[in-house]
């Protein structure tokens, strides 16, 4: 087993957890405000594609990252308008965004780069820099988690965000503008998830490929639930899921069952999902969702 548990595994865990942390902390802002966000997957894809395409043209990861943030904010704004302004079912609208961003990057890359869904390779020097194998965005992910803790529990905005998610009627009566706070929550989630996506395409990799998020948006959602909608536990959940992923990669062809067979990677891949179901069922401490999660708020007149 010592071949598996090495320092490389630690770095690998950090690499794999980074996009999850960005997306999950993003989802936290939306869900704490009371809007279910199953669109994290689509928002990550929006960020990943935009970052790769713009970095390719502009030759600078920073401009690519800014563009990704704008794309994420814009996409999340569409989701927010559909759900908050027009009362769309939040899960259905989120699913629509996910379907849309399976197609949109593919069509755009077909038109821009004459490829079937990927962007061209981006030169190494234009990618997001990393120090000793740890990306700048990994360090920032930790900072964002701590900042989110501060915002959520130590600022008036955080108090309002939580109030709107728990009991919008009471928040409204206290003079909080419920809809506005929810717009802010959803748009922040789009920005952060897009950064996670940008990390995938111009951080960890050097191009965008079709369906690059590969379910990470959903794992991030799982981590958010596992972390009970709180910043630091959510980040730890992401690290755990990243660790499971890292072990899967390291194990391939190395670890053997007593019978001499390979350990099936599929079972390690399942861990985050099984854990989430078990946690939701209340076997490992109850995970309670924000009180008004998924309940549209219509102001009485």
């Amino acid at each position: 087993m010592s071949e598996i548990f090495t320092l490389a595994l630690v770095f690998s865990t950090i690499r794999l957890a980074t996009p999850l942390v960005w997306a999950a902390i993003g989802g936290l802002y939306s869900e704490r405000s009371g809007v279910i966000n199953v669109a994290l997957e689509g928002l990550m894809l929006a960020g990943a594609f935009t970052a790769a395409a713009v970095t390719f043209y502009a030759g600078s990861w920073f401009i690519g990252l800014i563009a990704a943030v704008m794309a994420g904010a814009l996409t999340a704004a569409v989701l927010a308008v559909a759900c908050i302004r027009f009362g769309a079912n939040e899960v259905v609208a989120g699913t629509a965004i996910n379907i849309l961003f399976l197609g949109l990057p593919a069509v755009l890359s077909g038109a821009l780069f004459l490829s079937s869904g990927s962007t061209p390779q981006i030169p190494q020097e234009n990618l997001i820099p990393a120090f000793a194998d740890v990306s700048v965005l990994s360090v920032l992910a930790l900072a964002v988690t701590l900042a989110t803790w501060y915002v959520l529990y130590r600022t008036p905005f955080g108090l309002r965000l939580r109030a709107v998610g728990e009991n919008p009627e009471a928040a409204d009566a206290a003079g909080v503008r419920v809809q506005r706070i929810r717009y802010a929550g959803v748009i922040i989630s789009g920005i952060l998830a897009a950064v996670g996506g940008a990390y995938l395409s111009v951080g960890q990799s050097s191009l965008f490929t079709r369906n690059m998020a590969a379910g990470r948006g959903f794992i991030a959602l799982a981590a958010l639930i596992f972390g009970k909608w709180r910043p630091v536990p959510t980040m730890l959940a992401c690290l755990l899921f990243g660790f499971a992923d890292a072990v899967t990669i390291q194990m391939q062809g190395v670890a053997k069952l007593p019978s001499g067979e390979d350990v099936p990677v599929q079972f390690v891949q399942m861990i985050p999902y099984v854990v989430t179901i078990v946690v939701l069922a209340g076997f490992i401490g109850q995970s309670r969702a924000p009180g008004a999660l998924g309940v549209p708020y219509v102001k009485e007149r």
Partner: protein, 361 residues
């Protein structure tokens, strides 16, 4: 209006106008994207829609593509009528397709009279179990079915891929697929029944089953006590409980029926088409089913029409790929996503369509 009323069409038209407006809006927005990319949207839409109606290839393939979407659309619709969102049809159909293949391999020597129904039952039953799990979790622990079905999708894919790779693959086969099922488990292609339809088109009896399923779901939901109880639970769980209906039971039953319907995709895929389980076969059928159900107003007739529309797009997508310069078949996914988004947010069209008379009143 009176003439329409006597035919009972007014409620139908009223029911249909928002989905229609949503579809038109989706086509307009996607057309704009195509225009910006430098292709002619009208030409593209001709390729996308026009080629679906040629005989026999266009119609044959369109109906073949529609088959799984009818099943997943019905699955989502039944759950929705009970107030549940089944995002898990994707996982349910994977488990079911594998189960059909598994039984078809293990019992390969049985004659068709036995093997075919057993394989079909295996698909429906395993889908029902996989769909029932989130039902039980919700009824027993109150955990949200949306998250659980999403998680179960990933678990299903991993589980089925494990069994395929380690236990049922033909050794040396470079493709991740199982061995073929017994001859007895083959469902007849419609080409062997309908004159003029060549047998190379994979359209099979599962399509007939899909149409029958639409009728059965209608009868079940609106003409039986059990269907009434499911709908009552969906409309108002509190009132249903007060009226003596066990809401918990209805949740489990509705999710199991939903999963069973999604599982019938396995009948089309394994027994009717490939005659083996092919890993990763589903082209997002489960998620498209959400769009189909939503567009079809969670009504079996609407589901059938919506599934046909999406099948037309899917068939046309292949042509778009081949014959346009700048637009790929992925435009179909953009259209589907936009349709779902606009149908979900239909309130945005509401204030503009109200007749003038109503506005004055």
């Amino acid at each position: 209006m009176t003439r329409l009323d006597s035919w009972g069409l007014t409620p139908l038209l009223r029911e249909l106008r928002f989905p229609l407006v949503a579809v038109v809006a989706a086509f307009l927005v996607a057309g704009l994207i195509v225009l910006i990319l430098g292709d002619n949207p009208l030409d593209m839409y001709w390729l996308l829609v026009g080629t679906a109606f040629t005989w026999p290839d266009g119609i044959g393939y369109t109906l073949f593509y529609a088959t799984p979407l009818v099943f997943t659309g019905l699955a989502v619709a039944v759950a929705f009528r009970c107030g549940l969102l089944n995002i898990g049809a994707e996982g349910q159909l994977y488990v079911a397709a594998f189960a059909a293949a598994w039984v078809g391999i293990e019992l390969a020597d049985l004659p068709g009279v036995f093997l075919l129904p057993i394989c079909a039952a295996a698909a429906i039953l395993s889908g029902a179990i996989w769909g029932g799990i989130p039902g039980v979790l919700k009824a027993r622990f109150g955990s949200h079915e949306v998250i659980n079905t999403i998680m179960l999708n990933f678990i299903a894919v991993a589980l089925v891929s494990y069994f395929t790779q380690y236990h049922y693959k033909v050794p040396g086969d470079p493709i991740l697929q199982t061995a073929p099922v017994g001859e007895g488990a083959h469902l007849a292609r419609l080409g062997s029944i309908v004159p003029g339809l060549p047998e190379r088109i994979p359209l099979n009896l599962a399509f007939v089953l899909a149409v029958v399923a639409c009728g059965l779901v209608y009868v079940f939901l609106w003409k039986t006590k059990w269907g009434y109880e499911i709908r009552a639970t969906g409309e108002n769980p509190g009132a249903a409980e007060y009226g003596g209906i066990s809401v918990r039971t209805q949740i489990v039953v509705a999710m199991a029926i939903s999963g069973g319907l999604a599982g019938m995709v396995g009948i089309n895929e394994v027994l009717g088409y490939r005659h083996r389980y092919y890993d990763g076969f589903s082209d997002n059928y489960g998620f498209t089913g959400i769009a189909v159900a939503l567009l079809g107003r969670n009504h079996p007739a609407g589901v059938l029409v919506a599934a046909l529309l999406f099948a037309v797009l899917q068939r046309g997508g292949v042509q778009v790929d081949a014959f346009t310069a700048d637009v790929s078949k992925d435009i179909v996914q953009i259209l589907q996503g936009l349709v779902v988004l606009f149908v979900a947010a239909e309130a945005m069209f509401r204030f503009r369509i109200r007749p003038a008379a109503e506005r004055v009143a």
